[in-house]
Structures are given as C-alpha cells and as structure tokens.
C-alpha cells in the first residue's frame, strides 16, 4: 500500500495535471459551443504555445512573462486565421470530413513545429522555483501551483467575459442560435473566429505553463486527446463540467498508473469509455432527440 503522504502528493500533482487538461478542455468547449466543431488539433495549439514561449525567451532573451504574453497572443492569431481561412469554408460538410480536417491540422502543426524547433525534447526555465510546504504532508512545487492558480484565474475571467461584456453576451447568443443572432446584427462570422482565437489562446497558455513542469517536444499535443476525454467525462456542455472531469481524470491517472501498470498512460481512455458505456451522451447530455 502507498503511504499516506504519497497519496496526498499524487493527488496534488494529479490536480495540477488535471487543471492543465482543464485549460485545454476550456478551449474545446468554447469552440464546440460556438460552432459544434470539435477541434482535434487543440492539443497542437497548446504545443505551439509552449514552443512560442520557448522560442521567444531563447531567441530574444525575454523573460518568461513577456514571452508568455506575446506567445499566447500570437497563437490566438493563428487560431483566428485557421477559422477565418479554412474552417469557415467547410461549414455544413459531413462531420467525418470536419473531424478528419482538424486531425490533419494536428499533423501539419506537429510537422511544422518539428521542422522549425527540432524533434528533441527541450526544457523551459520556470518562472518560480522551489516549493510551497504546508505542514509535513502537503507540499507542492511553485510551477505546478501556478497552473492551478492560472486555471482559477482563467475560469473566473471567462465567466466575467461571458456574463458582463457585450462581446461575451453576443458570443453566447451566436452559440445558441446563429441565425437569430445574425438577424440581431451580431457579426456571427467574426465572433466565431474570435472564439477560435480565444480557445487557441487559452490552450497556448496551458502549454506555456506546463512547459517548465514537463519538457517540450512535438508529442505533448497528445495531451489534448486526454483533455477531450476529461471533458467528455465531465460533460461537454458546460465549462465547469469539463473542468471537473479533467481534474477527475488528472487525479485518477497517477493512481491508475501506480496500481495498474498494465494500462499505464491509457487509463484516461478507460475511464472515458466506461462513462460513455453507461451514459452514451456524456454525463450531461447536450443533444435532444426528436421523438418520432
């Protein structure tokens, strides 16, 4: 059996990891609610964010925070362009085509990142070092703590954005009924692209914050699939549900790896499949079937 202190430690790292998944899932959910497109390349936005911060701080010698800001904004611009130039053209195509298109984007981003930044894992210097200790049991590295804090900040900011700003309310309207929103004079196309930019920006932030904890290479985009699994466990419909599911996945993962080494690395998918078998529409259904 695990000693109790290890249990606590695993749980805390799990929560931090889950928050990172949650930040990525936030982008998934935003884009899904706006356009009903699930962006399988979202993990790649995160990877690009990590690389952008790395490149800015290495090449220009900027500190962590300026490169964090500029890096995330530039990935947001990439997200905007992806929607405005490409995703917009294939609205109404079959879902299979759209899924495959976003997966293909993942390939392109990964290949380009590998070509530009190299295929080897790189490490990023953390903005804070050391750890926070509360009593004997609880201790957490500052860089992990930062992820948790950032998640809280982002969630609060997004809530305020959607509740209080004109822009956010317009986005909610467009996601509920595009046609009606259009008739009300809301620039739906631009808002959808802005949603993509926002989603990409948050994913890039997750990548940049995760970069000091794990190393950066082209495969970290695969975390995006785990974030998707977490979002499904919690329910794709709401930001909080998705976040909760991601934290759940993040906490389960280290324990599953410890107790069931046979499914190391894939426990997130097992949990998700179990949930889907019981509740095929996710824990909180988003679709309503018409009765015949």
């Amino acid at each position: 059996m695990l000693p109790f202190s290890d249990v606590i430690h695993l749980a805390i790292t799990g929560v931090a990891q889950g928050c990172a998944y949650g930040l990525i899932a936030l982008g998934f959910v935003l884009i899904y609610k706006a356009t009903e497109v699930v962006n399988f390349a979202h993990g790649e936005f995160m990877m690009l964010g990590a690389f952008a911060v790395l490149a800015l701080s290495e090449a220009l010698g900027w500190g962590f925070w300026p490169s964090f800001l500029v890096g995330c904004l530039s990935i947001g611009v990439v997200g905007y362009i992806v929607d405005a130039q490409i995703m917009r053209r294939i609205i109404g195509e079959s879902q299979a085509s759209i899924f495959i298109l976003t997966v293909a984007f993942g390939f392109i981003f990964r290949a380009l990142a590998g070509m530009i930044f190299g295929w080897n894992a790189r490490s990023v210097e953390a903005p804070f070092t050391g750890k926070l200790a509360i009593g004997d049991l609880v201790e957490i590295n500052y860089d992990r703590l930062l992820i948790i804090v950032a998640t809280v900040i982002f969630v609060v900011a997004i809530r305020l954005f959607f509740r209080r700003t004109r822009f956010g309310v317009a986005m909610r309207a467009a996601s509920q009924n595009q046609l009606a929103a259009y008739y009300m004079g809301i620039p739906v196309k631009r808002l959808v692209s802005m949603t993509w930019a926002l989603g990409a920006l948050i994913a890039a932030a997750a990548g940049a914050l995760l970069a000091p904890v794990t190393q950066v290479d082209t495969t970290i985009g695969l975390l995006g699939i785990k974030a998707l699994a977490g979002a499904i466990v919690g329910g794709f419909g709401s930001i909080y549900g998705a976040l909760l599911g991601c934290i759940l996945i993040g906490v389960i993962e280290p324990f599953a790896d410890y107790f069931l080494p046979g499914i190391k690395g894939v426990s997130a998918y097992v949990v998700m499949l179990l949930v889907l078998f019981v509740r095929p529409e996710g824990l909180i259904p988003q679709t309503y079937q018409k009765k015949v």
Binding site: V38, R89, G92, L101, I108, R110, M115, L276, E281, Q286
Partner: protein, 358 residues
C-alpha cells in the same frame, strides 16, 4: 450524352448500368488477373498490398461513408484480424477456417462496439472509437502470452488446402480473390434493404426511423460488417507483414485508413479503391519529392506527416467529394462533350447543421 432507358425493373438494381462502366470494370479485372504475367515480383507484391488496403478501405467505407458513423479506431479491427489469424494458424488451423474465424471475431468485437456506439453520435463516437483503437493497441502490447507483446509475433507461412503458397504471384491471387469477393459483396449489399437502410441512417436518422428502419440495429450491423471486412483485410495484411508488432496497428494506421476513404470520396465503393491507390503511391511520391526539393527541406523528418496533412486539408477544402467527385466531373465532361459548363458542379452554399437537435 448517353441516356439510360430503363426497360425492366431489374435495371434499377443492376450492378453496372451503362455499357461504358461494364467495359471499364472488365478491363480492370482482366488487368488484375493478368498482372502476374508482366509485372515484376516487387510491383506485384505492392499491387497485392494495394488490394488488401482496398479491402480495408471498403470495410471502413461501409461504416463511415455509407452509414455515416466515424471511426478513428479501425486499425484495431485490422489488428484483431491479423493477430487472430496468426495465432489460429500457429495452432494448426487450416487457412480457410482461420481467415473466416478471425474475420468473424473482428466482426463480433465490432458489433459489441457498435452496440454501445449505436447510442452515441458525432464526436462522442469519434472519441470513443479513437479510445478503442488506443486501448486495442495497448492490449496487443501488454497481452504478451498470446500476441508476443512488443517483441512481435511471426506470421506462419501461407498454406491453402495443404499447398504451400510462397511465391509472390500465388499470394497475389489469394489477395485478388478476396478483394473481388469483398467488392462484389459490398456492391451487392447496397442493392439490398440492409444496405439501403445504412444510407438512410446516414442521410437522416429521423427520416429513417419514420420509415420503419431500426436505427440501432442498423448501426450494430454496419459496425459488425465493417469490422469483419477490415478484420479479413488484417488477416491478409499479416501475410504481407510476416511479423506483427502492436505499433503497426496504432492510431496512425487508423488515420491512414480514414485518409484513404476521404481522399477517395466518401460514400462510394470506387472511392475506397481510388484511396487505396493513392495510399500506395504516396510513399513513391514522397520519395520523389525528397529528391526534387532542396536538401535542407527534403531531408527533414517531418516532411511525410506534413504532406499527409496537407493532402487531406486540400482535398477536403477543394474537392469534398474526393477523387471520385473529380472522376465524375471528368466523365461528365466527355459524355456531354461540347456542353460541359462549370456551373454544372457549382457547390451550393452550406449552412451549419446543428447536431444538438437530431
């Protein structure tokens, strides 16, 4: 311009309606039958592999193209077929029994997945099948007492009715035999109520249900048939690989299968075959590009996935109907020769189809 005059009820369900089609299919079949006479062993083996991928493509096409259920985990069925076939052969079962047993096993697993998938839709289904593919790959790696784990598993040599088929042309004919059966079978399926109900479910679940189609059962059937055909392809693929490793049947392979049917053209059997041709020619094209491009770009490691992604993106944006759509346009151009106008195929404006209210 050729007009189709229907003079009998059977005209509606004929495999090949026009004389031109009959001639073209006959030429292709004759070419395939005669290929060992004039092709070298290397090209013959490649052609055999192409046929195996065409079988797998038809399998996935039935599910994704015709029934509208996306599967990101079809390499799992390919793997189940390949591993089951090798293990059964190693236990001394004859080839014919083993290949059908492994196809049936893949089909049963497919039906089990389809049972739960029949309630999901859209991206839930895509993610569930993706997770299924990842888990199957992990299973192949971890269950080492049966599959040999990451060490791999040697595939027993090909023996049919006690005859040892070791020559390339003999193996080619085995592939060709199954490919022709599967393609004819799939074409036949879409003349039957079962196949038509597949298409009905793809186009509108609501309308299909109104017309008395049992949507859940149709999805289970589609998963089962598709998985069985893919499993059959996997069993044949095992003989081409001669050595099985879990990572061969990973997510990348599933995506390759999807690439195949998307590039070929969703919803057509011909599309699966065209896609298989593209997949087989892709490595040749990439190695050609590597020679042409300047060394700095040509030698980087990411060129292959980059092209892979670019091809999918360009095809989906500019020719959503795939190569099959292009072929239709070319054919239409010649059939209506002086009257072809660009506006014949202008795409309609499309709108967001909501999935939240089915």
């Amino acid at each position: 311009m050729q007009f189709l005059f229907k003079t009998a009820y059977n005209d509606d369900i004929r495999f090949l309606a026009k004389t031109g089609e009959k001639v073209r299919v006959a030429i292709v079949v004759l070419f395939l039958l005669a290929a060992p006479l004039f092709l070298q062993d290397y090209y013959l083996a490649e052609l055999g592999l192409l046929l195996v991928y065409a079988i797998a493509g038809v399998g996935l096409m039935l599910l994704t193209g015709h029934t509208g259920q996306v599967s990101f985990g079809h390499a799992g069925f390919l793997g189940i077929g390949a591993y089951a076939h090798s293990v059964l052969l190693a236990h001394g079962l004859p080839f014919i029994v083993s290949i059908f047993a492994s196809a049936a096993l893949a089909g049963l697993v497919g039906m089990a997945l389809g049972r739960s998938a029949s309630k999901m839709h859209g991206f839930y289904l895509a993610i569930a099948t993706l997770a299924f593919g990842i888990l199957i790959e992990t299973l192949f790696g971890e269950w080492s007492s049966v599959t040999g784990g990451h060490m791999g598993l040697a595939v027993p040599s090909l023996q049919v009715f006690g005859m040892s088929l070791t020559e390339v042309w003999q193996q080619y004919y085995v592939d060709l035999f199954f490919a022709l059966i599967v393609i004819a079978g799939a074409a036949n399926l879409f003349r039957s109520p079962t196949g038509r109900s597949f298409v009905a479910v793809r186009d509108s679940e609501l309308s299909a249900r109104c017309l008395g189609v049992n949507v859940e059962w149709v999805k289970i059937q589609a998963f089962g048939i598709s998985a069985a055909i893919t499993g059959l392809a996997g069993a044949l693929l095992a003989h081409h690989l001669t050595y099985l490793a879990p990572d061969v049947f990973g997510v990348l392979e599933s995506l390759k299968l999807l690439l195949m049917i998307v590039v070929g053209g969703l919803g057509t059997i011909l599309g699966a075959i065209l896609g298989a041709i593209v997949i087989s020619l892709l490595p040749v094209g990439i190695s050609f590009l590597k020679g042409v491009l300047p060394a700095g770009i040509g030698q980087t490691a990411g060129l292959e996935p980059l092209l892979f992604g670019l091809i999918i993106v360009l095809v989906i944006i500019f020719e959503p109907a795939g190569l099959y759509g292009r072929w239709m346009k070319i054919r239409f151009f010649f059939e209506t020769f002086p009257y072809y106008r660009k506006s014949s195929f202008v795409r309609q404006k499309t709108y967001l189809k909501t999935d939240r209210m089915r």
